[in-house]
């Protein structure tokens, strides 16, 4: 192969690659990237909520004393856990949107 042949071969344009799938993948990656700060914020809020509710539980139990919990030992923690779960879900849903 001489110089002219090699130059001609090297100067051929690169083959055209399918654009559709790749462009869609890039746009999805951009959308995920844009949603990341909101997702991180959502998780932070979930953490803060969980800590606040746990502290409220401890505070409430301390004030009421053990006897007050004797009638319904599971009902109050269960209700609070459900409340936390609901709050977490709504925060995460908001972050996703």
């Amino acid at each position: 192969m001489n110089d002219a042949q090699l130059d001609a071969l090297l100067s051929r344009p690169l083959p055209e690659l399918d654009t559709t799938h790749f462009s869609v993948a890039v746009m999805e990656a951009i959308a995920r990237d844009a949603a990341r700060p909101a997702r991180v914020l959502g998780w932070i809020m979930v953490g803060v909520l969980a800590v606040v509710v746990a502290l409220a539980c401890v505070f409430g139990a301390t004030l009421a004393g053990r006897d007050a919990m004797a009638g319904a030992p599971i009902a109050i923690p269960l209700a609070l856990s459900t409340l936390v779960a609901l709050l977490c879900l709504s925060v995460l849903q908001a972050a996703r949107e």
């Binding site: 192969m1 001489n2 110089d3 090699l6 130059d7 071969l9 090297l10 100067s11 051929r12 344009p13 690169l14 083959p15 055209e16 690659l17 654009t19 790749f22 462009s23 993948a25 890039v26 746009m27 990656a29 951009i30 990237d33």
Partner: protein
Amino acid sequence: MDESALVSQAANRDVAAFSALTRLHQSKVRGLLLRLTRGNHALADDLAQETFLQAWRSIAGFRGDSAFATWLYRIAYSRFLMHARKRKEEELGDWDGETPSGEGAVHARLDLERAFAHLSVAERAALTLCFALGLSNSEAAQTLDMPLGTLKSHVLRGREKLKTILGDPS
């Protein structure tokens, strides 16, 4: 709409404009990365996706000193180098001395791609930018962040290797 208008719209976070820019340049960026990764389609596309994501994040800082395509090639090359440093690119053994066979345009291209795999990263990048992507030597040197003289020597060495691998009758 011309490219500079698309770039300024994309800099203002217009996703549709950036999507149009992606469609315009994706094939060449992927082609460059395909050469750099020695024909690894999946890796080339992953790196190309990272390239466009990085471009989207930093397009506001694009000052227009160079062509938009050149700026993209520069990001693509640096993404590839980062990947290669992380993964310690698997080196091919020395070329075994056999001349690739084949006739006609398709075979010539296949032979060329196989021959490219035996060049160093800098040689592959320099030859692809200067020939297939039509950059001037100074644009290619700027893209690869190397002095002009170094780029020229990569081009010369790469050409000589290709001639040897593809069979030089002289």
